[in-house]
């Protein structure tokens, strides 16, 4: 079986179809990620209890009532930051904008996590001993 015999046994329509399918699927593989929403959510917890579940696509500013006062969380351009916090060291504000991962404000007991919904489900505790 040589290449020439192979080419002779395919029609022109065969080759066009093969070309179109490869082109479409490859461009699909490359571009589908851009088209689809990232699916990330912003998950805000106070004292270990979730208080907000927000889509990262939508710009908004929320105020979270922690143990020392109100923490202001800003979501903008698929990024999240803490703009105001009642804590002393302001580490959470210094951390700035994040796209994924988390910001923790220990004094005020506020945790901001950016991730997919699956991440949050997988993170649940299996068991507690002791």
């Amino acid at each position: 079986m040589n290449l020439k015999g192979l080419l002779n046994s395919t029609t022109i329509a065969d080759r066009i179809l093969l070309f179109i399918l490869i082109l479409l699927s490859l461009s699909g593989i490359i571009f589908i990620k851009e088209v689809l929403p990232k699916g990330h959510i912003v998950w805000i917890e106070v004292n270990g209890h979730p208080v907000y579940l927000l889509p990262i696509e939508k710009d908004r500013i929320v105020s979270v009532n922690g143990s020392e006062g109100n923490t202001i969380v800003e979501i903008k351009n698929h990024k999240v930051r803490i703009t105001e916090s009642p804590c002393d060291n302001k580490l959470c504000i210094q951390q700035g904008w994040i796209e994924k991962g988390s910001i923790v404000c220990l004094p005020n007991r506020v945790v901001v996590i950016v991730g997919t919904p699956e991440d949050e489900l997988n993170k649940r505790v299996d068991a507690i001993t002791g």
Partner: protein, 172 residues
């Protein structure tokens, strides 16, 4: 249906079933990637003996394979049945509407495309129900299907030529 046709369908179904079983033993890098070797037999049957014979071979193969592996009437069976029937029908319809346009390779590509599309649709309806997950995986599956489909088409082409040669020898 003549008795000769019945023998042919039984024999071809046995070949398809053997390939189906052999394929499920092969390790693949991705669990749901299948080579679709049984489609070689379906396509050969379609071109040599027509759409009814090909449909019979597909149905017998899918039902018997699921009985052997214990997935009869389960979700995997529904995916396998839907993909098999749709791909056979699509290849049959294209080859009867435009008999000279596509060779075995083109028909195999059409069969692979419809097989994968049908399975993606069924997977969406039955299991996943998240359109973004299906859209995300579709181009990958269709690309792999195009590769395996063209290889299967080439093998079918060789098989058909050899079978015709053998037929001529018997007649001479």
């Amino acid at each position: 249906m003549q008795s000769q046709d019945k023998y042919r369908i039984a024999l071809l179904s046995a070949y398809a079933l053997a390939l189906h079983g052999f394929e499920s033993l092969l390790p693949t890098p991705i669990p749901w990637l299948r080579l679709g070797l049984a489609n070689i037999i379906t396509l050969t049957t379609l071109i040599l003996y027509g759409i009814r014979a090909a449909l019979m071979v597909t149905l017998i193969r899918v039902v018997l394979a699921s009985l052997f592996t214990g997935t009869f009437l389960g979700p995997a069976f529904i995916l396998s049945l839907g993909g098999g029937v749709i791909s056979t029908l699509s290849m049959g319809i294209v080859s009867s509407l435009m008999p000279r346009l596509f060779g075995p390779v083109g028909l195999s590509l059409i069969g692979a495309l419809f097989h994968n599309s049908a399975q993606l649709f069924l997977a969406y309806v039955i299991f996943i129900q998240r359109i973004e997950a299906i859209l995300f995986i579709s181009p990958v599956i269709i690309f792999l299907g195009t590769l395996t489909g063209s290889v299967n088409g080439i093998v079918s082409d060789m098989l058909i030529k050899n079978l015709k040669k053998a037929d001529e020898k018997i007649q001479n």
